[in-house]
């Protein structure tokens, strides 16, 4: 047994938890090392002194203070108290900052909307009328486009005709 093994088994030895062969080895180590025996005696003495330490007690009125604490906590949970000097739960400064931020958001949204849609200054009726006019213009333009394409011989997008027959004009000659 070496020093490390001895130290690992000190508590087990004191509390009588060692197996018989381990105990035998431990006793042999103690006989050879008087310092080791002093350590064992010292640890046993400390454990004994620790158990004798006078127990402290709570101060008088502990239970009353505890019950007051419980009541206080119970009241604190049931009442959500608003701090004084607030408007809808917000302090005046935070409320004014929020109002300014909201107004800025509305203004910037309106500006962005105006930029993307130039007709946005028309009334709804006018804008709907304008929309109908635009749609009818598109329809007319499409019709004209289709007619133009039909008559255009240079256009590649011709309707699919049946395969042309070159058998009469081209003759294949064997070599």
């Amino acid at each position: 047994m070496n020093r490390y093994q001895f130290e690992d088994l000190v508590s087990d030895y004191i509390e009588n938890q060692l197996k018989s062969n381990q105990r035998k080895q431990f006793d042999e180590y103690l006989e050879k090392n008087k310092d080791a025996q002093k350590i064992i005696d010292s640890v046993i003495s400390n454990i004994s002194d620790t158990k004798k330490i006078s127990q402290i007690e709570v101060k008088e009125g502990f239970n009353e203070r505890l019950l007051n604490l419980i009541d206080k906590n119970a009241k604190g949970l049931s009442q959500i108290s608003k701090p004084a000097g607030t408007i809808f739960g917000f302090t005046p400064i935070s409320l004014s900052i929020m109002t300014i931020a909201m107004i800025a958001f509305l203004v910037s949204s309106y500006e962005i909307f105006s930029l993307t849609n130039p007709d946005s200054n028309l009334s709804i009726v006018d804008s709907l009328t304008k929309k109908n006019e635009v749609e009818s213009d598109v329809t007319t333009q499409n019709k004209a486009k289709i007619m133009a394409e039909k008559n255009d011989s240079t256009s590649l997008n011709k309707p699919n005709k049946s395969k042309l027959d070159y058998s009469k004009s081209i003759k294949f000659v064997k070599d």
Partner: protein, 195 residues
């Protein structure tokens, strides 16, 4: 004819009291407080080294017991549960103390104190001696690393079993035994001058 019936006083187990408290019986709660307040203050005092602070921690522990009664399940022993709450509260207080970086006068020095004994009664001498030894042991425990401190307090001060300690600190049994062994050896070195 005299009636000499001896009534056996019925003592409820902690778990039975807790069950009654969960059903709404607040007297059961008071009984549990009375049973554990002194045990827990000694445990927390061993941990923190300050009596006032320890009492505040026990108040918070009992308050938590009141508020979180429905969290308790009879799978674990009640004592294990309440010690765990107290330990967690004490750890929270220790962390606050570290942030505040305050120390207590009682821990600042290991200087020997001179006791002027006016009365030569042997009882008083013994009492003072025991008090001195007790203070030295408490101070030595305060100097231990955190993970050694709680196991040594639970084992040597509170005399709990290894299994209970293992459940409270949530480490395996072997680790608990090893830590207690190391803590005892460190205390032996720290308290060498007492012998």
């Amino acid at each position: 004819m005299s009636l000499n019936k001896r009534h056996k006083s019925f003592v409820y187990e902690d778990e039975e009291l807790m069950s009654q408290f969960q059903k709404g019986n607040e007297n059961a709660y008071i009984e549990l407080v009375n049973r554990y307040r002194n045990k827990l203050i000694n445990f927390v005092f061993g941990y923190l080294g300050d009596k006032e602070l320890s009492e505040d921690v026990i108040q918070d522990t009992m308050l938590k017991l009141y508020q979180k009664k429905h969290y308790y399940r009879e799978i674990a022993k009640f004592s294990t549960w309440i010690y765990t709450i107290a330990r967690n509260q004490a750890n929270t207080e220790l962390r606050k103390r570290k942030r505040r970086k305050t120390s207590f006068l009682s821990q600042m020095t290991k200087k020997e104190q001179d006791y002027d004994i006016k009365d030569k009664e042997p009882d008083l001498i013994n009492k003072l001696q025991n008090e001195y030894v007790g203070n030295r042991i408490h101070r030595a425990i305060q100097l231990l690393p955190e993970h050694f401190k709680d196991v040594i307090v639970l084992r040597d001060l509170q005399q709990l079993s290894y299994d209970q300690i293992s459940e409270i600190v949530s480490v395996p049994l072997g680790t608990v035994k090893s830590r207690i062994n190391r803590a005892r050896l460190q205390l032996q070195v720290e308290l060498q001058d007492l012998k």
